[in-house]
Amino acid sequence: MYNSGKIIAGLVVFFILATLPFLLNLGKANAKIEPSIDTPEINAMPKKHCVETKVFMRAEHMQLLNNWRDQVVRNGNRIYVGSDGNEYQISLQNTCMKCHSNKKKFCDKCHNYMAVKPYCWGCHIAPKENEA
């Protein structure tokens, strides 16, 4: 093999450079994204609950919101019966955000992490928050 020294040294340098991002982060835990549910409205609830379970909401809230939107705007249905049997007014501004009054620490947490930009807030008014 000709120039074996240079080739092997080059390969080693390439391997280290290519895997550097992984090597540097080896063993470090990923920053955990934790949407906060610490709002006065939620804390005042005797039993904390959303319209559906936490697991469902985490995975399916976008489908739920899409369905809610179509039901209200196009079919005029404004009451949602959750799987817990409770009835809820279908409204992003007046139901969701009444409890989750901390958009920046709740919605934005995951949306920023996932780099998704839902355009809800182009029209729907986000709750007033103190910059903290």
């Binding site: 399916e60 489908q63 369905n67 939107r69 039901q71 705007v73 196009r74 005029g76 249905n77 404004r78 009451i79 949602y80 019966v81 007014q89 279908i90 501004q93 007046n94 355009y119 182009g122 029209c123 729907h124 008014i125 709750p127």
Partner: protein, 267 residues
């Protein structure tokens, strides 16, 4: 394994049927739409076959009477007050007799009082709406349940076909971001964003909780709201009793706003 033509056809057709069947089953399972039992209208909501308005401008005596109806609507629906008149956004507004009923305004000897009166104008919620026919995305549509011509802001792409189609000028386009020009936001109602068309929605959000439209409430009886298909409703009685006209009836859109004309002792 050898197979004759007959066996091959049998196997192929059986697997096709299985495949199609399985696909439909999987589609049904993964369909995330809501169950009918999960969703229903608010029991407080007002119901009608076709909502309509009777407007009697003789009951609006001062400028303030008009302005009260306009302001209350624009305040609760976060309608921006754009400084540039060419970017004006309006859901309800007032205009002269000549502009309201252009095809009758050439009459020089008719009632001067009527000709000098201003009229309150808003979306006619036509029975046969031109705006709905031209909308390419079905963003504007006629509600089957009560005849309200609705505007789905989520779907509007801002092509403005509806503005060209509406013979009554009831639609406004957001040429700029409306947020900076809304003085006090109503937190219960959304705003719009740049690039969508908006108009009066007959206060569908108030009807849903059993309230009359806001302009009706503030008009001191000058605007009456009710079911045009119900012969016993207040609007039908008014239309039967008094002489009323609609805007541009010759266009065949069947507007749902009736304007009371005259009402003097000889009328």
């Amino acid at each position: 394994m050898s197979m004759n033509r007959r066996q091959f056809l049998k196997l192929a057709s059986a697997s096709t049927i299985l495949g199609v069947g399985a696909a439909s089953v999987i589609n049904n399972i993964s369909n995330s739409s809501l169950e009918a039992a999960q969703i229903h209208p608010d029991p407080r909501s007002l119901k009608a076959k076709r909502w309509g308005f009777v407007v009697d401008v003789s009951k609006l005596t001062t400028e303030e009477d008009y302005q009260r109806c306009i302001d209350t609507c624009h305040d609760i629906h976060n309608v921006p007050n754009n400084p540039n008149p060419r970017h004006e956004v309006k859901w309800i507004w007032k205009d002269t007799y000549e502009h309201t009923f252009p095809n009758t305004a050439e009459d020089k000897i008719m009632n001067r009082e009527l000709q000098e009166k201003n009229f309150l104008l808003f979306c006619n919620h036509c029975q046969n709406p031109a705006c709905v026919r031209v909308c390419p995305t079905k963003a504007t549509f006629k509600r089957e349940s009560d005849g309200i011509v609705m505007q789905d802001m989520h779907r509007c792409i801002g092509c403005r076909f509806c503005m060209a189609a509406c013979p009554f000028g009831a639609r406004s386009f957001n040429y700029t971001d409306p947020r900076p020009n809304i003085k006090v936001e109503n937190k219960e109602f959304p705003t719009r964003m740049i690039g969508v068309v908006e108009k009066c929605t007959a206060c569908y959000e108030r009807l849903a909780v059993g309230k009359q439209p806001a302009c009706v409430e503030k008009s001191n009886g000058a605007i009456v709201f009710g079911d045009l298909e119900d012969p016993n409703s207040e609007v039908r009685k008014l239309i039967a009793e008094k002489y009323t006209i609609r805007r541009k009836p010759e266009l065949g859109t069947q507007p749902s706003i009736y304007y009371v004309i005259g009402g003097g002792e000889h009328a």
